[in-house]
């Protein structure tokens, strides 16, 4: 095999599993260590720089980092990366002068953002700091998009949204709320240098079964109903409620219904329980509030009596798989009837762009989504860019943020007349953490603690108050213990072959059998000869060459604990533990970076 080129920024980035999996590539282990060190404000700034909404995401993120977390491969559960982010936000105190300011002199370019959801707000932040004049339009009275209008307050308090939206609004961004954009053509006529469209996926999918129209008064589209609850238009719900669907929205609908007077609330989902779109913790929280989730139920008819909803009928289905492994739901013949007073339909969200004219050169695909360059997020109309749910259909907040960064970089390059495909490389550093013979600047002892639960408000109190946040968050003591579970995957094992005397000390000490000295070979074959057979071929082998015996050093990065034992045991310093820091380059690198510390 070829010796590993550790100068390639992707190599060690991939080893930091959480950062690699995070759409905006937040330097997770760095911010977790800052929390453990009680440097909450520093930790907040590291987050703010890369994901813009630490307080919001620390409560709501879909957390793709956690399934990727290395800890989950050597122990039962990953580090509570998401809820620790909230700790940074909760305990940061006064940020003082850390928030960066836009440059005194603007660059003379104007950019419009349609929608004030997380995607647009991210674009606005990055471009404002780079000297652009940004104008944000939203039909709603306040910014936040679905974060404000759909996500219920018992998961995300309004103050947190106000605070984090405020940091962006204060960067000299011009906000035009209560302003619905009715025509893109018109907006383009206003002479902006570029337009970003972050208008979301605002339409809830309809339920199309007999009886739907007759009982319409008691059947609601989930996302619209949640917005009505949020605005205070809806204050109560029937005693018996059925929620259709198995995603985010269904979970928020059923839990909201429990708080508005729903006594018997059921969730009915077409798929199996395991295949539901909602995250495991969302399902757990719903079931914990006394809401049964009934799976393999396809609604077939709404029952009604003189315009009053009385119940809903389902066909019980089962999953069958064809030769290609494709699933189909086939009827079992059984039917199930659930009596209820109200039905909430949360069976999916769709994009809708009624305000974008189809004759202006902006192409849409068969699914009604804009045709985009996946790298630059540029549409077929050169100055128009998309991001968030509007780009590729409904996703989540962290993807909206990642798109926002990506689009801001594209817009900046576009406005400067450069090729938007020439992306700026990330900033990386690699620095030894050695402080003494067996002393490191990070805590290399591996904690054996199991994941700590986030304390919850007592359930009777939580259910009695729609606005009462259910999760209370870790306190600093719990946060310290949880943060210590992190394996510091950014502290990399760096190997210098010419120093190695092949004494085997590192091989013998490694608790997880990462290291092998063996003859060279093709990767697939070599992987069968490692100290521990490959568990996870997605993870790289670190190859070192130039040893005296002609053998190679092969380290399987898969389950390395970053404990530094190999480096402590090495008599010659051939192993060293070095911190790898990668920061994505945003449209405003220098200005933003000033606020955050290592």
């Amino acid at each position: 095999m070829q010796p590993t080129d550790i100068r390639n920024p992707d190599y060690f980035h991939k080893v930091v599993d959480c950062q690699w999996a995070c759409p905006s590539h937040t330097p997770v282990p760095l911010y977790l260590r800052l929390i453990a060190a009680k440097r909450f404000a520093d930790s907040y700034m590291v987050n703010w720089e890369s994901n813009v909404f630490p307080g919001i995401l620390g409560r709501t993120c879909d957390r793709p980092c956690e399934p990727a977390c290395r800890r989950g491969r050597v122990e039962a559960e990953p580090v509570a990366i998401c809820r620790l982010k909230r700790v940074a936000a909760d305990y940061k105190g006064d940020l003082g002068t850390r928030m960066p300011e836009p440059p005194g002199e603007r660059n003379g370019k104007r950019v419009a953002c349609v929608g004030a959801g997380p995607a647009s707000l991210t674009v606005a932040r990055d471009l404002a700091l780079a000297g652009y004049r940004v104008v944000i339009y939203d039909g709603a009275a306040r910014a936040g998009g679905m974060i404000r209008t759909q996500i219920p307050r018992f998961r995300l308090p309004e103050e947190v949204i106000d605070e984090e939206v405020g940091y962006i609004e204060r960067l000299g961004v011009e906000t035009r709320y209560n302003t619905w954009i009715g025509s893109l053509k018109e907006l383009l006529g206003e002479g902006f240098d570029a337009v970003f469209i972050g208008s979301g996926a605002p339409r809830g999918r309809e339920l199309d079964v007999p009886g739907r129209r007759e009982a319409a008064e008691h059947i609601h589209i989930g996302i619209d109903w949640l917005a009505s609850v949020s605005f205070g238009h809806v204050k109560s719900v029937g005693k018996r409620v059925v929620v259709l669907g198995g995603g985010n929205t269904a979970m928020d609908c059923c839990r909201t219904a429990r708080r508005l007077g729903g006594e018997q609330v059921y969730v009915a989902v077409r798929s199996g329980f395991e295949q539901m779109k909602a995250s495991p913790w969302e399902k757990e929280d719903a079931m914990g509030e006394g809401i049964p989730i009934l799976d393999y139920l396809v609604p077939t008819e709404v029952l009604h009596d003189e315009g009053r909803l009385t119940g809903i009928v389902f066909a019980k289905v089962k999953a069958e798989f064809d030769a290609a492994g494709r699933r189909s739901l086939v009827p079992t013949g059984a039917t199930v009837e659930i009596a209820c007073d109200e039905v909430l339909v949360a069976i999916g969200q769709e994009n809708a762009f009624p305000w974008i004219e189809r004759d202006i050169g902006l192409d849409f695909d068969r699914h009604g989504l804009p045709a985009l360059d996946p790298l630059t997020l540029q549409s077929t109309l050169p100055g128009v860019f998309f991001g968030g749910d509007a780009a590729f259909g409904p996703k989540n907040i962290i993807w909206a943020v990642a798109h926002g960064h990506q689009a801001a970089v594209s817009i900046d390059l576009y406005c400067r007349g450069e090729d938007a495909h020439e992306r700026p490389p990330p900033m990386t550093t690699l620095a030894s953490q050695k402080m003494g013979i067996h002393e490191w600047s990070y805590d290399n002892a591996v904690s054996l603690d199991l994941r700590y639960k986030v304390p919850h408000r007592e359930q009777s109190l939580a259910l009695a108050d729609l606005g009462a946040e259910v999760e209370l968050g870790y306190d600093p003591v719990l946060a310290y213990k949880e943060a210590e579970r992190c394996l510091n995957c950014d502290i990399e094992t760096v190997f210098t072959p010419k120093l190695c005397i092949e004494c085997d000390a590192c091989v013998d000490i490694c608790p997880v059998d990462c290291i092998t000295f063996t003859d060279d070979g093709e990767e697939a074959e070599l992987r069968t000869r490692l100290s521990a057979p490959t568990h996870n071929p997605e993870q790289a082998l670190y190859i070192g060459k130039g040893l005296k015996t002609g053998r190679i050093m092969a380290k399987d990065e898969d389950v390395c604990l970053h404990c530094g034992m190999c480096a402590e045991r090495c008599p010659t310093g051939a192993w060293d533990m070095q911190q790898f820091l990668l920061k994505m380059t945003h449209a405003a690198p220098a200005a933003v970076a000033s606020g955050a510390q290592r």
């Binding site: 491969r73 050597v74 122990e75 067996h438 290399n444 002892a445 591996v446 054996l448 005397i501 092949e502 004494c503 085997d504 000390a505 091989v507 013998d508 000490i509 608790p511 997880v512 059998d513 521990a532 057979p533 568990h535 005296k548 015996t549 389950v559 604990l561 404990c563 034992m565 402590e568 045991r569 090495c570 008599p571 010659t572």
Partner: protein, 351 residues
Amino acid sequence: MTYLAKPTLHHPDLPTNTLGYTRRDYEGAVSTLCAGCGHDSISAAIVRACFELDLPPHRIAKLSGIGCSSKTPTYFLGNSHGFNSVHGRMPSVLTGANLANRDLIYLGVSGDGDSASIGIGQFAHAMRRGVNMVYIVENNGVYGLTKGQFSATADRGAKSKRGVVNIDSPIDMVGMALELGATFVARSFSGDKAQLVPLIKAALTHKGAAFIDCISPCVSFNNHLGSTKSFDYVREHNAAVNKLDYVAGQKEITVDYAPGKVELVTQHDGSVLRLRKLAGEYDVTDRIAAMEYLAGHYAKGEVVTGLLYVSLDSPDLHDYLNTVEKPLNTLDDSELCPGAAALQRINAALR
């Protein structure tokens, strides 16, 4: 050394043996020896061998003398019996333990100082009596623990770290073991676990006195240019006579080997030593030829390694003494004391 205990987290696919233990269950406390010490590699090889042999840890007794090498039993087999004896006295303490309880598996760990200087008499007698044990000398050519003086196994002409040349003739412990009647004799190198682990497995299952001289570089005092016990020197001068695969008794040997290339030696417990010959017609069962071969190659500056001699069906100390099958420490008063009548009979016979 490191101050931290090795975390108990392990590889998700770490295999278990027939007893349900993982290799990690055979480890001991974290080593306090110098980073890179050859002795630590030997500890790791012992751990691996015991794991692979499915040995119940509580049936093993590890005994040692004094020295860095003799400290190592703390660093492996944390759930076995242990006795850290006096300098050079491991063989007699082990002999006593073995006489008292023949059912345990005895592993004696010693150093070249511990065995070739102060303990040389004890070493000699354990070998000639055929104590059923594995005797490993972790041979670094120096007194590591007392900061690197030449030991009796240092070669004449070898240079110390500070430039002093050794003028005394070396003691070759392998030669002595052969001479004194050890029934399993091998030499290996801490830096070659592929060779060492099967040798330890074979020695642990051998009945009688099994001796392994394991060259084990001392990274702090004897791993420099001019040393004959350094990683580089041993790697350059290593002349292995054979390559051993240990095959547990129940496993069938299915592969055919070209005649003359492989020798199969079946031990008394049914396990098979599969020897791939590397040095022409070296015969592991011929003691005299082995001694000659070793002397000849030593003169050429080679370090001969591998399984050098094995004798099957050899009696051990208990056979010689004709002791009962049952361990002596389990015999109760009625078995040990024949009673007054028997005593009278014996006395009468002597009158």
